[in-house]
Each structure stands twice: as structure tokens, then as C-alpha cells.
């Protein structure tokens, strides 16, 4: 019996493309060289803010569905979250970060977001 791994697919190019993407977002260390430390820290901090922002959105939608908010409160909450999302877009652009970069791989328990 041979244990030379066999690879079978009819769509090799498509999988290579997708796997390249997965490899690009593998967990990284924060690079602490002087030139990139700022971006590394920004990525970490923005990832955590993004997580909290999404949790707030989910909570707001749940409260809205639960009927616990008046239309005025829904409007105020929606406006606040809308501004928060716009601010996040600004910060991501400022540090040159794409949406898919704002994540942390937690190993066996998966990705943070």
C-alpha cells in the first residue's frame, strides 16, 4: 500500500485559487518591525471593534423583532449603527485593510468572525 497522497478533482484551478485565498488569511503574528507595527495593531483592534459592532447589530435586530422598541427608538438605534459602520469603513481605508482581513483564527475553535 502506498501513502503517497492522491489528489482528485475536476476543477484544480478553481480550488488552487480558493486555497490561495485561505492561505492568505491564515493566522499571522503581529509584525513588530517599526514600519508595520501600527498596521498590525490597527488590524487587531479593528477586528475586535468589528466583532462588537456586529454583536450590537444582532442585538438591535433581535430587540426590534421582539417588539421591545418604539419606531423612534428603532430609528435612533439604526442611525447610531449606521454611523458606526461608516466610521469603520473610514478606519479600514485609513489603514489599508480589507473586510476579509478583519478576522482572527482561533485555531481549533475556528475564526473569531
Amino acid at each position: 500500500m502506498t501513502f503517497e497522497p492522491e489528489i482528485e478533482t475536476a476543477q484544480a484551478d478553481e480550488f488552487i485559487e480558493q486555497l490561495r485565498h485561505v492561505t492568505n488569511v491564515l493566522p499571522e503574528r503581529i509584525n513588530v518591525d517599526a514600519q508595520t507595527v501600527e498596521q498590525g495593531l490597527a488590524k487587531l483592534v479593528l477586528t475586535l471593534i468589528e466583532l462588537i459592532r456586529r454583536l450590537l447589530e444582532k442585538q438591535a435586530v433581535r430587540r426590534m423583532e421582539g417588539g421591545g422598541l418604539t419606531p423612534e427608538q428603532v430609528e435612533q438605534l439604526g442611525l447610531a449603527l449606521m454611523k458606526l459602520e461608516a466610521k469603520m469603513q473610514d478606519l479600514k481605508a485609513q489603514f489599508g485593510l480589507a473586510d476579509e482581513e478583519l478576522n482572527i483564527d482561533l485555531g481549533p475553535i475556528g475564526r473569531l468572525i
Binding site: M1, T2, F3, E4, P5, E6, I7, E8, T9, A10, Q11, A12, E14, F15, Q18, L19, H21, V22, E57, K58, A60, V61, M64, E65, G67, L69, T70, P71, E72, Q73, V74, E75, Q76, L77, G78, L79, A80, L81, M82, G107, P108, G110
Partner: protein, 250 residues
């Protein structure tokens, strides 16, 4: 001199291995060091950190693959560098866990299944409108941009949940198809991506033919809808604790 560590085994012997010169990282010849009944497969390494290159990744996998031809190793994560004393100390400190994991992996190999779907078609099929969601008084009574934003988020979340359910259905379908041919499974699901499911199966060597037959039947069943990449046999990277976390050496 540092050592590059490929994996651990309690069965492999120097006599059973025929590592060629140049088989290891940076052309070094792998050898075994004894850590009280558990042997570490290593090669000499001059530096502190291994570069992630195609050649080095291949060397790491080639050495573990050679061991796999004889027995199932616990592969270290790529890039594990230690001193001989550090390795021995690590094994001594984690002996029970390592022996239990070696026992669990004994006679098994890892098989991999990756599945792609047409995520855009799936999104269209999962499209949600306010009419398909249960009515809420707050949405119906509010008309400003803030309420519209939250209503849009509500639709997005419902669509995302629908996509997730479809992806989870694929995972459940694959598990039914493979059945007891796999003794353990590790699954990663990313419904928002084209590469939607990545599964690692731990399969007993004696059941590899059964596993392959079942997997082939499953692939054929949904060939028009899903795209598959299957590979293996691999050392049990996804099931070995020492592969998923970088051990701390003294």
C-alpha cells in the same frame, strides 16, 4: 545547534526508516532522537525560524509521509524548531497526552474533502424580503434611514442564516455518506465563500477502500451541484494536538 522537528512516533525505528540525504528541511538528513520511548523525527537546523517556501513545506510533508508509510506519526506544525534538550523536556512534560494521542491515531490516516459551491446562486436562492420575514411593528411603523438600515440588516442576517443552513446540510449529507468509515471528523464551514466546506476525516488504514468507495458515491450523487477536491492519505495534521498548536520548548 537547533533541530527542526517533523513529528513524534512511539513505533518508528531508525532501521525502518531510510531517509535519504537531502530529504529534510534545507537539504538536511532526518534522524530520530529518543525521548524515553517516544521518538522525535528531526533534522539539524542552523537558524531560529524556517522560511515558508514551497521546498520547505514539501520537505516537511515528505518526511512525515515517509514515516506514514511505516506508521502514523503525530506531525508537528510546520516551522517547529527546538533544541534536543527542549524536545526531550517537552515530551516528558506531555507524555500522557502524547501517548494517548498516538494511541488514538494508531493505524489511521487523515483524508481531506474540500467542497465548493456556487455561492452567488446560493445567495440568490436565499434572498430574503421583508414579506418573507415575520412582521414586526417596529419595522412597519418606522420610515427613516435608521429604521431602513436596521431592516436591511435584518434581511442580511436572515439570508446569512439561510446560507448557513444550506452549508450545514452539505456537512450532514457528507457525514451520512461516509458513515462509520471515518472514526473522527474535523469540519470548517464558511457559507459566505465559494470554498464552503473543508472536512478532515480520520480513517483507519484497513478501512480506506470502504471510505474511498463511499466518498466516490457521494461525489457522484451531487456532482452537478457541488465541486469536490479529495486528497490523502496524509499524516493526521488536523487531529494531532501538536500539529494545531506550536509547542513551547524550554
Amino acid at each position: 545547534m537547533n533541530l527542526y522537528a517533523y513529528g513524534l512516533s512511539d513505533e518508528i525505528t531508525a532501521a525502518a526508516l531510510a531517509f535519504e540525504e537531502g530529504a529534510g528541511i534545507e537539504g538536511a538528513k532526518p534522524f530520530l532522537i529518543e525521548c524515553g520511548g517516544i521518538r522525535a523525527i528531526v533534522s539539524e537546523f542552523g537558524g531560529e525560524r524556517v522560511e515558508v517556501t514551497r521546498a520547505n513545506l514539501r520537505a516537511h510533508n515528505r518526511v512525515n509521509g515517509l514515516v506514514l508509510a511505516e506508521t502514523t506519526p503525530l506531525p508537528f506544525r510546520f516551522g517547529t524548531v527546538a533544541t534536543a534538550a527542549g524536545l526531550v523536556q517537552y515530551v516528558e512534560a506531555n507524555r500522557e497526552m502524547l501517548l494517548a494521542t498516538l494511541e488514538r491515531m494508531r493505524g489511521c490516516v487523515e483524508m481531506s474533502v474540500k467542497i465548493m459551491w456556487d455561492v452567488e446562486a446560493m445567495r440568490r436562492a436565499s434572498e430574503i424580503t421583508d414579506e418573507t420575514l415575520p412582521p414586526t411593528a417596529a419595522v412597519e411603523g418606522a420610515v427613516g434611514p435608521g429604521a431602513a438600515y436596521l431592516a436591511a440588516k435584518r434581511r442580511e442576517m436572515a439570508a446569512s442564516e439561510a446560507l448557513k443552513s444550506k452549508a450545514e446540510e452539505i456537512v450532514a449529507w457528507l457525514a451520512r455518506g461516509v458513515g462509520d468509515a471515518a472514526c473522527e471528523t474535523r469540519t470548517e464551514v464558511e457559507p459566505e465563500r465559494e470554498l464552503v466546506v473543508r472536512v478532515a476525516h480520520l480513517v483507519e488504514r484497513v478501512r480506506l477502500d470502504v471510505y474511498r468507495e463511499r466518498l466516490q458515491a457521494a461525489r457522484e450523487e451531487r456532482a452537478g451541484e457541488l465541486r469536490f477536491l479529495t486528497s490523502g492519505a496524509w499524516p493526521p495534521y488536523s487531529f494531532s494536538n501538536i500539529a494545531s498548536q506550536k509547542p513551547k520548548f524550554a
